[in-house]
């Protein structure tokens, strides 16, 4: 029985790590710019599809780099063309949320026209050896996913807490107006946030694309799990969201060990409800005070 338990915990860790990759980018953008960037799912899906496209013409390493750059450009273009116009018009974050849902639909359907509807897999992922730890089986890509999300946890913690950029981002997140009085230019910070957030989204998309199938509406289901994890961990803290996403992965996988597996999404949302009611600031976040 112990090997099954080990497999369950490992599955929870893998699923949690995948959600964490999405949650990291989502919560970075959400904490600095104070709105739920739903279309981050579209950026993640774009990352996966760009890797699929480039890996057909280039060898793996250039394909990955090209895919990352194009995803960042796509994310920044999204901010420039829609969110920036809304910010100029002092749109509330509810308006930004609805606009991001609109962008999510737009991206999904652009992928549908561009890449067609059928499910794709990325050719790079063919040789994927399986390892066994304590009786539980894990593939190379899954190890890379867990390692990346752990690395991101540390890197983002370091970035936000110990670098000048991180302090500036947190200053803008805490109070945009006052941050300006000390010479921080918020629009440059927003650009940096979107570049970083979209890069995280691109990395998430590529790794998830290697691990699972690619289908046009993959972005939506991923971003929903991503923001649920972010809320659990604390939307205002990036590394908190990564932790929250891991918790979500664990609870989901352990949950459907006892419940019928059809309730997997429902478990995620009951968890979201519980945190929204009892601890909206999440495990590590601070009160999400807004004007």
């Amino acid at each position: 029985m112990s090997s099954i338990l080990a497999q369950l915990l490992l599955n929870g860790l893998i699923a949690g790590a995948i959600y964490a990759l999405v949650a990291a980018g989502f919560s970075l953008i959400c904490s600095v710019m104070k709105f739920m960037h739903f279309a981050h799912g579209g950026v993640v899906a774009a990352g996966a599809y760009f890797l699929f496209m480039f890996s057909q013409w280039f060898s793996p390493v250039p394909a990955i780099l090209l895919a990352l750059v194009t995803t960042v450009l796509f994310g920044v273009f999204m901010d420039w063309s829609v969110y920036k116009q809304l910010r100029k018009r002092h749109a509330s974050n509810a308006v930004l949320l609805i606009a991001s849902i609109g962008l999510m639909i737009l991206t999904t359907n652009l992928i549908l026209i561009g890449f067609g509807a059928d499910v794709k897999t990325i050719p790079l992922a063919q040789h994927n050896p399986v390892y066994t730890i304590l009786g539980a089986r894990i593939t190379l890509i899954q190890v890379v996913i867990i390692a990346t999300s752990a690395l991101l946890f540390g890197l983002l913690y370091y970035l936000m807490k110990c670098t000048r950029l991180g302090k500036a981002l947190r200053a803008v997140a805490d109070n945009n107006a006052i941050a300006q009085t000390v010479g921080i230019n918020p629009s440059r910070m927003y650009l940096a946030t979107f570049i970083l957030g979209s890069a995280l989204g691109g990395i998430a998309g590529m790794l998830i694309g290697l691990e699972q199938n690619l289908y046009p509406s993959m972005g939506l289901s991923l971003v929903i799990k991503g923001f649920t994890g972010a809320v659990i961990g604390g939307v205002t803290s990036v590394h908190g969201s990564i932790l929250g996403a891991l918790v979500l992965g664990m609870v989901e996988n352990l949950g459907i060990w006892y419940l019928p597996s059809g309730y997997k999404d429902a478990i995620a949302f009951v968890l979201l409800f519980v945190f929204l009611l009892l601890k909206p600031e999440g495990i590590l976040g601070k009160r999400f005070e807004r004007g």
Partner: protein, 285 residues
């Protein structure tokens, strides 16, 4: 004759969407509640009448029970979300829609799960009669909501939307009013679900799909927040707008996604260039 039958069909579905837009506007436009759970109430209404009418209950009874079911669901959702505002309320209510979809898919003894419920009795034989009944009830719903929003209750709802604290200090029990708004909005959505179930005679968990949710939001925002006239016109425009796409000579693999892209562009375009929509006077706070 043929063209009129097609128009009647579109008329029936437009009435359904107008009811959904008006009721969503009551929560979103008048009370300022970003409720992404509106499609769940629609689904609850559809399932209640489908399950009960298959047991042989008369349709006027299942209609009332569907409305009451919607009311109860709206009130129940008001409790856990009492303290939530803005994006957090949006996330929680979106979660409610997904939970209802999972229940519809997994509680197989009640809802037959993914197989859905076929053979739901039609309300009336011909579509013309159906159009009469659904447009009658749409007019009644529109009058009820516009009376409510013009009354002192409606004024208090708008006060709560603009400044909750200000309303509280004037003795208004904000939670009770929000519960009322969500309850009424939910029961109208459930009524729309009732008409849908008896028109299409087959429902399955896809009634809880969030694609419809985005459609409803586009209708309310295009029409204008806190304007019932706006929701009616926004509902009709958004529903009928993609119809000409059917007649365009695109190769059909483009027509499908083009419709969704058209919606998304309209939604984003409205939010950027005209956030108040056509008739709205209020910004989404």
């Amino acid at each position: 004759m043929a063209f009129s039958a097609y128009l009647i069909h579109l008329g029936i579905l437009s009435c359904m969407y107008v009811m959904l837009a008006i009721s969503l506007n009551l929560a979103l436009g008048f009370t300022g509640m970003l409720n992404l759970g509106h499609v769940a109430f629609f689904g609850i209404g559809a399932y209640i009448t489908a399950i009960l009418s298959m047991q042989g209950l008369p349709l006027w009874l299942t209609c009332i029970l569907a409305i009451i079911g919607g009311l109860i669901a709206g009130i129940l959702l008001a409790f856990p979300t009492a303290r939530l505002r803005g994006d957090y309320l949006a996330l929680a209510t979106l979660g409610f829609t997904f939970i209802m979809a999972a229940i519809a898919r997994n509680w197989q003894s009640l809802t037959r799960g993914a197989l859905g419920i076929p053979g739901i009795p039609r309300l009336v034989a011909s579509n013309e009669q159906y159009l009469f009944w659904i447009s009658l009830s749409t007019v009644i719903v529109a009058l009820l909501v516009s009376w409510l929003t013009k009354s002192s209750i409606g004024r208090t709802l708008q006060a709560i939307r603009d400044d909750e604290l200000g309303a509280m200090v004037l003795g208004k029990n904000v939670f009770a009013y929000r519960m009322l708004a969500l309850g009424v909005s939910a029961s109208i959505a459930a009524l729309a679900g009732f008409f849908f179930a008896h028109f299409i005679t087959f429902i399955d968990p896809s009634v809880f799909s969030i694609d419809d949710l985005i459609l409803m939001f586009a209708m309310v925002i295009l029409g204008g927040l806190a304007s019932n006239k706006g929701s009616v016109i926004g509902g009709v425009i958004i529903f009928l707008l993609p119809e000409p796409l059917r007649f365009i000579g695109f190769s059909s693999s483009i027509v499908g996604p083009a419709r969704a892209i058209l919606f998304a562009l309209i939604l984003i375009g409205m939010l950027v260039y005209r956030p108040r929509g056509i008739f709205g006077k209020v910004d989404l706070s």
